[in-house]
């Protein structure tokens, strides 16, 4: 063997062999005589550690008594994995899903209805705020149980408010006011003195762009008293949507759409450390309670406030509420043992420990006395209160929501980039989603016919 070969073996071969022989196995020991409950979840990091602690405690106490061992397993793309494993007939016993998967999966029969188990375990469902439970229902049945809930609010940078001559204790109350604030909060640089707005944007008031933390691209009609799904039809082509997209466009044209696009392109691309709100480039943002956690880490000196996102009028306060949920897939081998575990996790003190660690609100009507005091997010009571608004809404409970959401994303992009007139774009999207819904209905009818 030549010298190169020897070096190669020394540098690569030996470590590899060593790793194979002595490397970590990662196998955890399960005590004998326990029923293993497979629990798939999407959380890692700090969030995952919080759940792991609860699982460990369960395994040591309740689990020991009842002969159950919960295997907490953090995986990416839990929804797709669950889908494939359910299609293959080998699903986990418990899965943690984002709530928007409940309607389509329940509709296809992938989720076990939980009404009977909830009765059997005498879960006090009335102790939860109504919205958190209604998100778990589909077609009159309970298909999920709340895990960590949240509402989405308007975060605003108080220092930038002051610098723009706005009252930091007076966040915008209507969507029109928000636009006005957004204009005043936008700063330019490098324009000529006679026309400062000719320069490039260095600070933007507000944007709905999905590249700048505007994750809920479909949501804006709701703040204009609209809704997207009436239980049977997709209701996009309504005055509310036209008003909402007119507002989106105005938000951009007021400061110059080309410049907004340029700004979004430069500073967005990647969230997290370069989060435009935390770096002070974006004055207002529509985001969830976790943003406060990031602020504590990345921008501890940021002076910001939180308020409900404004609606078109002061009379109504539309609030978007969403949550992670627990489900038991159809075909799970140990649904009862899974429920023993869920009953434990849903105990108020355990649940609130989890929600606190995740920086989320509590699903309970009356959060425990210490919940707000110990919560890492100083504004958590705002988020919690918002969940009780009469106009609170969740994701459209639509079995074909995934496709509708995709279309809504393209609709927003089209309007933001002025690729089409809003009215025309709305009509096209309505037609497209109508045909998706019609296809779905036809197939469902075909199935029912076939089953008979």
């Amino acid at each position: 063997m030549n010298i190169r070969g020897v070096i190669l073996v020394l540098v690569l071969g030996l470590p590899a062999a060593g790793l194979l022989a002595f490397g970590p196995r990662g196998l955890h020991e399960v005590p004998p005589d326990r029923t293993i409950v497979r629990y798939w979840e999407k959380w890692t990091g700090v969030e995952g550690q919080a759940m792991q602690r609860i699982v460990d405690r369960f395994n040591q106490t309740e689990g020991t008594r009842r002969g159950i061992w919960v295997d907490y397993n953090a995986l990416g793309d839990v929804d797709k994995r669950m889908l494939i494993s359910a299609a293959g007939g080998d699903p986990p016993d418990v899965a943690g899903l984002p709530d928007r998967f409940v309607p389509p999966y329940a509709d296809q029969g992938a989720l076990r209805p939980l009404d009977d188990l909830a009765r059997e375990f005498s879960l006090d469902l009335d102790a939860f705020k109504p919205i958190w439970l209604s998100i778990c229902r589909y077609d009159g049945k309970l298909y999920a149980l709340p895990s960590t809930p949240y509402t989405i609010a308007l975060y605003y940078n108080r220092s930038l408010f002051r610098a723009a001559g706005l009252d930091p204790d007076h966040p915008p109350q209507t969507t029109a006011e928000l636009n006005e604030y957004a204009q005043r909060l936008t700063r330019f640089e490098g324009g000529d003195p006679t026309n400062p707005r000719a320069g490039r944007i260095v600070q933007l008031g507000f944007t709905v762009s999905p590249a700048m933390l505007g994750w809920w691209t479909w949501i804006w009609p709701y703040f204009f008293d609209g809704q997207l799904w009436d239980g049977r039809r997709f209701t996009l082509d309504t005055p509310a949507t036209h008003a909402a997209l007119g507002w989106v466009r105005e938000l951009r044209t007021a400061v110059g759409n080309d410049r907004v696009l340029q700004f979004e392109g430069t500073s967005a691309a990647i969230e997290s450390a370069q989060n435009p709100f935390l770096s002070g480039q974006l004055a207002m943002v529509f985001q969830g309670p976790w943003l406060a956690n990031w602020a504590r880490v990345y921008a501890p000196d940021l002076d910001y406030g939180v308020a409900p996102f404004p609606s078109v009028t002061r009379e109504r306060q539309h609030v978007f509420a969403s949550e992670d949920v627990f489900v038991i897939p159809t075909g799970a081998r140990h649904p009862r043992e899974a429920m023993v575990f869920l009953e434990y996790v849903l105990r108020q003190e355990v649940m609130e420990e989890l929600c606190q660690a995740h920086g989320k609100v509590s699903p309970y009507r009356l959060p425990g006395s210490e919940f707000f005091a110990r919560h890492p997010n100083p504004h958590i009571h705002v988020f919690d209160e918002m969940a009780t608004s009469p106009e609170v809404f969740g994701y459209p409970s639509m079995p074909t929501w995934a496709e509708a959401w995709t279309e809504m994303l393209y609709l927003l992009e089209t309007v933001m980039r002025e690729a089409r007139e809003p009215a025309e774009a709305i009509r096209m999207t309505q037609t497209k989603v109508d045909s998706v819904v019609a296809d779905y209905e036809r197939m469902a009818a075909h199935r029912r016919g076939g089953a008979r």
């Binding site: 296809q108 590249a211 340029q262 392109g265 990647i270 393209y410 089209t414 089409r420 296809d439």
Partner: protein, 295 residues
């Protein structure tokens, strides 16, 4: 073709690893997916036969048309540009210079960078303000460099550019092809007084033409199935009119997001047939231009 000298049994025995695998792991699933393509199959319920409905829907599906169009554009830019660049790089890397191994490694290493990392690296390279591409364009005097990923007009260009970063494997294969060309051919060309460009045209290119054919076919297969990279780079920002939406992305969305496995299977079969047809076409066209030595 020469008459068979070996029995079918012997042949089957030797090729058993392949055809066993084919029968067990490919043929069965292929037949099943062909059947599924004639079904409504939301994955979680048994498939229901619907005849040609999925294929008929393809005809009217505007998103499908858009995805096909984008994929055609991508494939028909990425393959020729990639081929030219790979051949040029290979010729360059074939020169006897100091640090040859280092230069070769530079070109090859990007192919092993995990796609997740490559996605974020390039998102940053192409940042219109701070990214390397824009800053270097500005230093050479382009006042308004494009928005790259964010611009509907430049998005496709950006993707092709990024795809060129992964050109290492074809370059290595071309390098090997270049070493196969007998030195005597160049000597002869020099004696005839052929210029460098004429040598390239009359000796080098014919010499590696089988390799070009091979790489073009691999290019057709991979570019028609392009998925992970655009998915990483534009997941949150697809642009209006789906400017960065490709065939396999639509297939994937249908299968696992829209729960339309039947439709996805129809898409997959159409894709398979398209690739097969294109490959066949390239083979036919190459009959005249590809030179096989000793055949």
């Amino acid at each position: 073709m020469r008459p068979a000298r070996h029995s079918l049994f012997t042949g089957l025995l030797w090729t058993a690893p392949w055809w066993l695998g084919f029968l067990l792991l490919l043929a069965g699933p292929m037949v099943i997916s062909l059947y599924i393509s004639f079904c409504d199959y939301p994955l979680l319920q048994p498939p229901v036969f619907v005849g040609l409905a999925n294929y008929q829907q393809l005809v009217h599906d505007a998103v499908f048309h858009k995805a096909v169009w984008n994929t055609v554009i991508y494939a028909s830019t990425a393959i020729p540009v990639g081929t030219v660049l790979a051949v040029l790089l290979a010729i360059l890397l074939n020169q006897r210079v100091r640090g040859q191994a280092f230069f070769r490694a530079c070109i090859f290493v990007p192919t092993i960078v995990p796609l997740v990392a490559a996605g974020v690296v390039w998102m940053w390279m192409m940042n219109p303000e701070y990214g390397l591409l824009s800053t270097s364009l500005r230093t050479v005097g382009v006042a308004q460099p494009p928005l790259w990923l964010e611009s509907p007009r430049w998005a496709m260009v950006s993707l092709v550019l990024v795809s060129l970063w992964f050109i290492g494997s074809p370059v290595v294969i071309y390098l090997a092809g270049l070493q196969e060309i007998p030195e005597e051919l160049y000597e002869a060309a020099k004696l005839d007084g052929a210029s460098a460009s004429r040598q390239l045209w009359h000796v080098t290119l014919p010499g590696i033409s089988p390799v070009i054919l091979f790489n073009v076919i691999m290019g057709i297969i991979t570019s028609w199935q392009v998925f992970a990279l655009p998915y990483m780079m534009w997941r949150t920002r697809p642009g209006p009119d789906r400017v960065t939406y490709f065939y396999t992305m639509y297939l994937f969305d249908n299968a696992f997001n829209y729960l339309k496995m039947g439709y996805a299977s129809a898409l997959a079969w159409v894709q398979f047939l398209i690739i097969l047809a294109l490959t066949g076409l390239v083979f036919l066209l190459s009959r005249r231009t590809v030179h096989y030595r000793g055949l």
